[in-house]
Symmetry: C2
Subunit: 410 residues, 2 copies
């Protein structure tokens, strides 16, 4: 895409009320637009990042049998009353609205009830199990304060998968698989090295749930990392029994601040029971469905990447989720840049082509702020020296290489 | 995809309160799930259709310079107060909600204000124009009654593009281009033959707006079609002056009920003025930006296809937006069906493979209801006769053809 066609602009300053690093950088670089505290619109480059994260997650979910769908945002009282989660006294972050006739409605703050209710229409027999529906969805949470940018929004984007299995054994097999998928997702989006499978509180039906925690100073959680085992424990559950259970010693643990980027949870019969979500087994007996819940905050993940992968000049996107692969900068009038743009796009490489009439300095500063992984500059000087000036976003120094050498790496 | 993996099931009956044909068929075939009147979740096959319609529109919008982004659903009073569209006395279909501190918020029922406000941050000079941002978005409208299925939902999906041009002349050039894109969209989704460019009421800044109206008994609008010219006039504006203007005679017009599937509108300065959305021209003078608005209801379009392209047995999807291209039905145990499934999917053909242990009759009825364009049956009998039984959804009769002949057409 030509930068002249992209209507967004970089800014020197973020809005004065913006205190989070992720939103500050994303607003300045033109990825998001602040509608109000905790509510952001995604500008073209921001949407491209979100969609790439989505695509990575979609591929992983489909690989283990996930089937994508799309639930509604508007929610009915009767569905949530079944689990006693309708009342604002029980759930304090509902956004509620109402129909013209006064009927109260809610905006999805999570999705267990919606999926349990919906699946009741489709599950009757053991032949209908297992089922792994999931969706990418806009979620609304009426947070009293919203100061973490896109890491804790009032309106945000997530993926949630719910598993419906015939018993705990089948559930556990799937749970192991999806745990592995989650590890793969965080690896692919570039957070693998600093994201830990973290043991957290379970519930009636399992000893632990698992969080995926990315180490960051912007984190709101405290975890204890066992570097040797590559796992962690949430402070909430840290005690001697848990340590023994996980084969950890207190001395080997490091306390870290971390951002919860995903969590997986065995729900057991917690939701199937109030919804009478049952199936008939081979003998014709009714049994409750065994459920699990698996979430990833897509926008939070994007914010976490910005919090952890950036420097004083701007964002450093991992290639897998970068809005574009190459930032092509043209200095002065030259046909070579135009030619290179066409060569790369014909090859299917995603290029942001800075064809604007702006100073070289401004273009370089914008490129650093935006953070596309491969920067290539075509100028009279680079051409005189035999090619283009190529610099990776995470390197200090660029080098002159021939156009062919540059192109051949993609 | 294997039908055994798809958790949805067909139903003999739609919910008793469902009166629209589109929702009735879509619910029975397992494309949508009714959460409440006017609010539907999209089941896996429904989402596939929505995404295909989206992809067709996205391609057309990008081709004329559209740049995709994603605006928020939650909306702030101050933005809508600028155009006097915040009050429920002025706009009667807002869904409103509020923050914990009592601040009132709205849920997007349309998007002009959001885009005008956002673009004010990016447009300052003539160099920033034109700009054509668009988004696919969930829209909320508090309809007093909701009886048209997904054709008029309380929560629905649309595409809206807004154009920002320096003057009326530039605007008109783009307007002509996007009018052509719209015609192309309706052609591609299979509604071309029955969709008319329809002259409707304009506004302060243009004599007419243009609607795209699909002839259907389920339509809520009355249009007058001039078959020879291939255009129509909305009843709302039909008078002698308009007839003369469009070179139409009353005698040649046919009255039809029609569904408005898209509309394009010259907004002029209607929104740029209250938002003081201006740009500096080459001489440094401030001028108001000239705007246009271009919408397509994605879910309504899907509903319109079902209303117009179906028979007594079920839906007849056009290939371009069908959830799958081929419905492969296996009768009895045979490896050939499995083999054909693998051959087709390896070729990149989207196949729904009915591998369920169900009667042939039930499988055929489901296939007709679901409406995938190419049905192929692999049974002991078809194999004895030399191949597979192939039938298009819109044909009465099938034929036996060899596996190779069947595969080679994709």
């Amino acid at each position: 895409m030509r930068q002249s066609q992209l209507f967004t602009k970089t800014r020197k300053e973020a809005p004065s009320d913006e205190v989070s690093k992720n939103a500050e950088l994303l607003i300045r670089a033109g990825f998001i637009y602040k509608e109000m505290a905790g509510v952001y619109s995604y500008l073209p480059m921001g949407l491209r990042v979100l969609k790439k994260i989505e695509a990575i997650i979609r591929e992983e979910m489909n690989m283990i049998g996930g089937v994508e769908m799309q639930t509604s945002a508007l929610q009915e009282k009767s569905v949530w009353a079944k689990t006693n989660r309708w009342s604002d006294d029980v759930v304090d972050n509902w956004f509620k609205t109402q129909l013209k006739n006064g009927t109260e409605l809610g905006l999805s703050f999570t999705n267990e009830e919606a999926f349990s209710s919906l699946m009741k229409g489709f599950i009757t027999s053991y032949k209908d199990l297992p089922a792994y529906p999931y969706d990418f969805k806009t979620i609304f949470r009426n947070e009293a304060r919203a100061k973490s940018g896109i890491m804790r929004g009032r309106e945000f984007h997530w993926k949630a998968l719910y598993s419906f299995s015939r018993d705990e054994k089948d559930h556990n097999e799937f749970y192991k698989k999806i745990r592995q998928s989650y590890i793969s997702v965080f690896d692919k989006v570039g957070l693998g090295g600093r994201t830990y499978l973290t043991f957290a509180s379970g519930g009636t039906f399992s000893k632990y749930s698992h969080e995926f925690q990315t180490v960051s100073d912007a984190g709101e959680d405290i975890i204890y990392v066992d570097e040797a085992q590559g796992i962690a424990v949430n402070k909430e559950v840290l005690n001697d029994e848990v340590l023994a259970d996980l084969n950890m010693s207190r001395e080997s643990l490091q306390e870290k601040k971390a951002i919860e980027v995903g969590n997986i949870f065995s729900l057991g019969y917690k939701f199937s029971e109030p919804f009478s979500l049952t199936y008939k087994n081979e003998e014709g007996d009714n049994n409750l469905v065994y459920m699990g819940s698996y979430g990833i905050g897509i926008s939070r993940l994007m914010g976490t990447v910005v919090e952890t992968l950036s420097d004083e000049k701007g964002i450093i996107w991992p290639e897998s989720i970068a809005p574009f692969t190459v930032h092509l900068i043209s200095i002065g009038q030259n046909d070579k840049a135009q030619e290179l743009y066409e060569t790369l796009t014909t090859k299917g490489v995603e290029v942001l082509f800075d064809d604007r009439e702006t100073s070289a300095g401004a273009k370089f500063a914008d490129a650093d702020l935006i953070g596309i992984p491969h920067r290539v500059v075509v100028s009279g000087r680079s051409l005189d020296q035999g090619g283009v000036e190529y610099k990776k976003r995470d390197r200090e120094q660029g080098e002159i290489i021939s156009v062919d050498d540059f192109v051949s790496q993609f």
